[in-house]
Symmetry: C2
Subunit: 257 residues, 2 copies
Amino acid sequence: MTETTVLTLSYDGSDFAGFARQPGLSTVQGEVETALRTALRRKVETVGAGRTDAGVHALAQVISFEADGSDTEPSSLLRSLNALTPPGIVVTGVRHAAAGFSARHSAVAREYRYRIVPGPVPPLFLARYAWTVRHRLNLNDMRRAASHLIGEHDFRSFCVTESALGKRTFRRLDLIEIMPENVLGEHSLTVRVVGNAFLHSMVRVIVGSLVEVGTGRRSPAWMLGALTACERQAAGPTAPPHGLTLWHVTYPEECWL
Amino acid sequence: MTETTVLTLSYDGSDFAGFARQPGLSTVQGEVETALRTALRRKVETVGAGRTDAGVHALAQVISFEADGSDTEPSSLLRSLNALTPPGIVVTGVRHAAAGFSARHSAVAREYRYRIVPGPVPPLFLARYAWTVRHRLNLNDMRRAASHLIGEHDFRSFCVTESALGKRTFRRLDLIEIMPENVLGEHSLTVRVVGNAFLHSMVRVIVGSLVEVGTGRRSPAWMLGALTACERQAAGPTAPPHGLTLWHVTYPEECWL
């Protein structure tokens, strides 16, 4: 059986039409597959751990593809890919996993971080990586609201309606942490979300709903009602994509060779 | 006597031909003076705390100008300026100081931070804000080398030769701290430098020299020789501008009204 090659990627989502390969558009997966084709001199189809929408960033997206015995070894593949990919994509790691590994199906947890800059002064260095919300946000209320979402639930209210049609919408949320952070000298609020898997736009709808609570437009208890309603209109608006980063994907340790 | 109005600015140096006003070029000072002219309906000449070269960023540059009794009050001036300045400049604060205050001459200390990303994997989110050095750096050696620079010295070796001609080149360095930092998920080494004032390119030549030591090309003791030689060739190369940020300027508390 052939092994699997696994790449870790950082990318700036502002520069691409999303992660997933799309004919005629510059997407992250498309650009990396083009670079792989040149580096390995063969056509490669990759699988990604999480689809990210246009504008969403990744610190450590994971993609995998079937290795070939004659493929370049990891450290020189890393160097060639970084020479071949456009600015806005960096390959940060190359590893090998057992045959049958899939960046998507073998993942046991995913972490996303959403950055908000609250208040009257817009951010400068974080402008591309944070949602500017021109209000003060009540951190305690946001934390109380978030606590209702922890555990395994039907998250139908927190995803794009069409994407949920006829699909199982139960997911397990292990952690939502809301932490003030000083990043590049600027004050931000980071929402850290860890779960087994996420529905389309789920993190962005959760964050949009948390901000409704933070500004005082909704109460913390409203979040529980939004969850149990199981319909999209019950939750808050979808937060913009550029505040979101796919931060980390976890695999069982025994996957790695 | 009229009061002084004091602005704090963040800017991304990649977008401008430096801080100082220059005819026909887009500079930070020029852009802010144009915005002030529109906001206040009068011509304003500003003084900046520190000139930064093209490519150098600021988290908190300070500029001052003579107030006029009829000027807009601080919070609405802040809003109008942020609507008038181009992307890449954010006004983060507006305050008043006593007459005679000068952002340049009243400053008692300045802090710069220089960010380095060492190692084989280039940064993505920090690409505009850090110098990528494709070597491991020995932190202890860099710290030992830096310790030779603390105190009041003639820093002639660490500045652009022409800028030192016929000028007093003694400066007081209060602190050089070299700290590993995780910024936007990426590993960097931040050199934090605090002193009363700095010569032209002084922080960048200090950092370029510290990297010579960090890579092992020079010993920590070499730094002392570079300092005492009092000539530019004795020190290391000038680190690139985009790793540098003017971080903070300190004024005596009694300046503020």
